[in-house]
Symmetry: C2
Subunit: 533 residues, 2 copies
């Protein structure tokens, strides 16, 4: 509420400052303590509120939005338990370095010490997944704190250190007068480390046993072209990080292979190089440890060189070692014809590769089916590919919500394993409510296939009951078409490759969301992934 | 694996120690880092593993189990994000003082510092919702640490300070040899503070303007009878805490009214007393703050006396002030006849009150419909009533899983608001997989009714768009019968009071889970609750 002296309530200053900083969307799951923020939000056309029925949907949507929009969304969460529900997807956003402002409502300052039933220590909960955490303690600081949250989100995003800024807003700070919105200055792009670029250039020129390992913002057109120029000029080999936040793929752009998930394959790909130059990525680490297996992916005599996260570094490096410029890479041949017969993971991938529409946004939480899908879409029309950056499952359908809000004119395709789909199925309701153009393909093998694989490797447990062991990876009994119907999303079930092709064509042609349950053999086990499959 | 010298792997020692401590069930949502625990678990008939498809189901089930079994369950969670997903129901368990051992797998000790993708600071995440947190750093400590976790869980439970003990188990600690199981001594019941009991007795004898406020374990038969004896002997009035973990109700037991949720009603009930004696409960605090409203529920001249959490204190007090003993209270009249016509919250409550089966376990997450339901079941056959202790929604259907596992011979009835049902709907899958006798009644008013009420109280926001304000509490478009079918639980929809009665009778008569969507007017707004409705 604007008073005669120009002051307003804390909640109003938060929202006006968000508008000043280009934050135009709020993925919200509010409660009583956030009511003043909600009321002020409804008074402002500058802010689009998107209701989510679970906090993990809100944070995953903010992640997907940030990756595609290139500017932060906000998520609105209710107290410590609400933040808790949102943490898994904040973890992925942090690993994706997505800029995001997480607004967490809290009890009124004067009530907090009395420890009401919903009270908890929000700072502790927020710290592990946040680049920046602050509690606003009086309305007069609401504008300044919001501005600093936006700047912190952008800075962490640019530095590749994670861009989740968590602002804790007590309810009385929001309803009290005396606040003013703050301006939010533009953030300058991060500069390259010239010395590191020089050193890398010398190494690439002097030694042909070099690998250029790229990630982050370098997986967009400029970075991909620069990497290809460097490789051609110096003979360096190229590799990309395993799970990029956003990977642009289009005919004419180099399609750089990504580090595989299985430990042995990853080591093999990194082996045989004297130097590895990292640009927009850090040296990869094994996803998990295993008894008697190495904890390091690199040979002992391999030297690692870090160029930093700034995209400018890779551009500068390309200008140093390949100043003449080199033409575009040859487009890959288009995908083959459509397969037929009973559906398998490989056939599902082939169908998707053949039908992927121009300028699709692909959200990949296919886990054990992912490698097939990446391969099958290599020659597809231009698209962006969003990965499960942090390995915390339940990202797929929420991130698709955010991507569709950010890019209303582009088709969004979620490639979703069945096990991980069950962490945040509520995202489907928001897809229906907002009429988002999202097609979800559930790759349903009725098991935590990864767990079955991992359990098979556990040796020497006397009396281990293989039946019970299988039981813990058996998730049969799910009907995703019914589940989607329960949340207002129409759907269909594909048992053959022909079914999938027909249903995918129809789903992509119609506006609004659709879900296809692609029924795979329940023994299907491909490599690569984390938990669900 | 047991070696020739009697040592075993860390995972084996954890499981054998759990067995020594009477922990017989594990509600599990494991990942790769927990595979040795899972493999060892399958080798032991002493441990029942119950697979959950989301961590909030696992922690909520462990809460429900602990409340009904009177001994701890374990929950098995995967790394920081998995713990994050389980925090909301750990919050409720903490507020219920439920004894529980939360086992959180972590990366191998030698890999942790390299910060693999799924890495995060688990201690920080665990601390706010845990009474006790420890990381086991070598296999030799696994037995001891597990024993101490069980003792800490029991101690926090007995002291009413929360009984969630979180044990962080790196994967190499679990797979390494050199561990031995530890014994777990019995825990002595907490003793009463004799001085506090004497003082309370004197106050109750000297002043008739006393209120005896009971909670925790005193809401079982012994405590309820002791409270009634004290009231009859001294003239004290009686009141119970708002949301008990477990409230026993049966004909012949005094049915003590509970503190109402709305701030004004709660203050009114506590007003007019010179002294309040708290037994098994702490002085209540307003659930939320509101502009210009008081933050304290008591009059300034009211003296508060804390007897502590030990049930023995209330028994001792009764023996002091009412040594002769007093007979059972008169049973309430049985509920009235069955209503007919279009369903309302009040009619749904009447149907449930009339049909509640003997020895039911009622899990109440009905939020805005809860007060009606409590009133309508006052004269019902003997039952236990489990409340949303921490206000963190998403407890209902998971807690019902745990209660049904703990009490396989008793019918479990979940009274579930629709908004809060959407936080942990995955619990239905476990109900189907385990064939649990749980009947879920969704009280579906298609809105966050509490939020609509709260928003209506927010005044003075110029330009606030009432349409958008309503939008954020409108959750229409859900079909819970389809949702249940998607997870293998059969269901039906009740539009009239007669439908509900017919369907409830049939559901209670059949084995296995069933879900009834009770369609209420979408404008239905009763008092009492937190967020969903």
């Amino acid at each position: 509420m604007t008073s005669s002296n120009g002051d307003m309530r804390g909640a109003g200053a938060v929202l006006d400052t968000l508008a000043n900083g280009g934050v135009e969307v709020c993925f919200a799951n509010p409660g009583t303590s956030e009511m003043h923020l909600v009321a002020e939000m409804t008074a402002r056309p500058s802010m689009r509120d998107v209701l989510c029925l679970f906090e993990g949907v809100a944070t995953g949507a903010a992640d997907g939005y940030g990756r595609m929009a290139g500017r932060p969304a906000s998520a609105l969460l209710h107290l410590g338990p609400g933040l808790g529900n949102g943490l898994a997807n904040l973890h992925n956003a942090r690993r994706a370095s997505t800029a995001m402002v997480a607004l967490v409502g809290d009890h009124a300052t004067y009530l907090k010490d009395a420890d009401p039933p919903l009270n908890s220590d929000i700072e502790l909960l927020a710290a592990p997944m946040s680049a920046w955490v602050r509690r606003t303690t009086r309305a007069a600081d609401a504008g300044r704190d919001t501005a600093e949250a936006i700047l912190a989100a952008r800075a962490g995003s640019a530095a590749g250190t994670g861009g989740v800024a968590t602002l804790i807003l007590p309810s009385d700070v929001c309803w009290s007068e005396g606040a003013r919105p703050a301006g939010v200055p533009a953030t300058a792009p991060e500069r390259a480390d010239a010395d590191a670029v020089e050193r890398a250039a010398k190494i690439l020129r002097d030694d042909t046993r070099c690998l250029l390992f790229i990630g982050g913002a370098n997986l967009r057109p400029d970075g991909l072209r620069a990497a290809a120029r460097i490789a051609r000029a110096t003979g360096a080999r190229l590799l990309a990080e395993k799970s990029p936040a956003r990977h642009r793929r289009e005919p004419g752009l180099p399609d750089i292979e990504r580090l595989p998930y299985p430990l042995e394959e990853a080591s093999a790909r990194l082996d045989g190089h004297r130097h590895i130059v990292f640009a927009g990525a850090r040296p990869p680490v094994p996803f998990f440890g295993y008894p008697g297996r190495p904890s390091r992916l690199f040979a002992d005599d391999c030297e690692l060189h870090l160029l930093g996260m700034a995209p400018a570094a890779l551009q500068d490096l390309a200008d140093l070692v390949a100043p003449a410029g080199i033409g575009a890479s040859r487009p890959r041949p288009p995908a083959g014809g459509l397969p037929a017969g009973e559906l398998t993971a490989a056939k599902a991938a082939a169908v998707i590769g053949a039908l992927l529409p121009e300028e699709a946004v692909v959200v990949d939480e296919a886990i054990s089916s992912s490698a097939d899908l990446v391969a099958a879409t290599a020659g597809a029309p231009a698209h962006d590919w969003l990965c499960l950056t942090g390995g915390s499952i339940g990202m797929g359908m929420p991130a698709a919500v955010g991507a569709a809000v950010a890019c209303p004119d582009r088709p969004v395709l979620t490639l979703q394993a069945d096990g991980s789909a069950m962490y945040t199925p509520q995202a489907l309701w928001t897809q229906a409510r907002e009429g988002l153009n999202v097609v979800t393909v559930i790759l349903a093998n009725a098991s935590y296939a990864i767990l079955a694989d991992e359990l098979a490797r556990v040796e020497g447990v006397p009396g281990a009951d293989l039946g019970r062991t299988r039981g813990i990876s058996d998730i049969s009994g799910l009907d995703f078409v019914a589940l989607a119907a329960g949340m207002g999303v129409p759907g269909s079930r594909a048992r053959s490759a022909g079914d999938l092709a027909d249903q995918l064509r129809r789903a992509l042609a119609e506006p609004g969301p659709w879900l296809i349950e692609a029924v795979l053999p329940s023994s299907a086990r491909a490599g690569g992934g984390v938990r669900g499959a």
